[in-house]
């Protein structure tokens, strides 16, 4: 069944993703950490779908679609920022600072 271990693995991966988002300043690595968190959530959906039927798998499908759209738009934004600043370091990106 492996429900508990799968949920525990999901928790650990999600925390690692949060740690990565807080630790790194490179915008692309930050995006990859967000993908890691989405993957952790997908794992818990799949683990719980063992109990509750294939609806969990459908949710994973939708999460993957959103992740693909987010990666495409986010990376386009990063390319745009790189053209302006010649850097993807988040410390240099403060256009919206009040």
């Amino acid at each position: 069944m492996l429900l508990g271990p799968a949920l525990a693995l999901s928790a650990i991966l999600f925390s690692l993703g949060v740690a990565g988002v807080l630790l790194r300043r490179n915008a692309i690595v930050l995006f990859m950490c967000i993908e890691l968190m989405l993957n952790a959530v997908n794992l818990s959906f799949v683990a719980l779908a063992q109990l509750h039927g294939a609806s969990g798998h459908v949710m994973v499908f939708f999460v993957m679609t959103v992740a693909a759209a987010e990666a495409a738009v986010g990376l386009a934004i990063i390319i745009g920022i790189f053209r302006h600043k010649q850097s993807v370091d988040l410390g240099n990106i403060n256009l919206l600072r009040g």
Binding site: M1, L2, L3, G4, P5, A6, L7, L9, S10, A11, I12, L13, F14, S15, L16, G17, V18, A19, L22, L23, R24, R25, N26, I28, V29, F31, M32, C33, E35, L36, N42, L43, V46, A49, Q50, L51, H52, G53, A54, S55, H57, V58, V60, F61, F62, M64, A67, A68, A69, E70, A72, V73, L75, A76, I78, I79, G80, F82, V88, D89
Partner: protein, 185 residues
């Protein structure tokens, strides 16, 4: 046997994820993330989600990570210096991530059986057997209809409208990416 394979792939996934967030070069970090996603695909197979495992490899490890690698190479970020934040932020991060993982691990101890037990001690709640379907629903469904059929039936019946709206989302993402990546932004 299944459990041994699960723990092997779980260890690979956690190690690769840790290396992904600690590697200095974005390129190396992306490759470790691909390793995490492939071991997660193996775990999906163990959890009776074969179709999800296939599209995990195709969409995540294939399409999305190749997009990341293209952008990293396009922007020539291969040998960027260390971008870790300062020691105080590292300490705060360790505290926050540690607390979060403790909290989530405590939540995973709430198995459906324990929750059903506690619910059954409340007189106002209904019979927990109606709330939690016992056993391996997915395995039975995929035995009855096939692996893809068990996913396709709810996707095209119950979740048809969300599925169609997904296409609008993808169209918006395409248009947004083209507009943002054009020359004069």
């Amino acid at each position: 046997m299944t459990e041994v394979v699960f723990y092997i792939f779980a260890a690979i996934a956690v190690l690769s994820a840790a290396l992904c967030i600690l590697q200095r070069s974005p390129m190396v970090s992306a490759l470790w993330l691909v390793s995490t996603m492939c071991s997660l695909a193996a775990i999906y197979v163990l959890l009776n989600a074969q179709f999800i495992a296939a599209i995990q490899v195709l969409v995540y490890a294939g399409a999305i990570m190749v997009l990341f690698l293209f952008v990293i190479m396009l922007l020539n970020l291969g040998d960027a210096g260390s971008d870790l934040r300062g020691p105080s932020t590292v300490a705060a991060t360790l505290v926050i991530a540690g607390l979060l993982s403790v909290e989530l691990l405590a939540l995973t101890r709430y198995t459906p059986r324990r929750l059903a037990n506690e619910l059954s001690q409340w007189p106002t709640f209904t019979d927990p057997a109606t709330v939690f379907v016992a056993g391996q629903v997915t395995q039975q469904e995929s035995a009855a209809r096939g692996v893809v059929g068990a996913l396709a039936a709810p996707l095209f019946q119950v979740y048809l409208i969300p599925f169609e709206i997904t296409s609008v989302l993808l169209l918006a993402a395409i248009v947004g990416a083209v507009v943002l990546a054009k020359r004069n932004v």
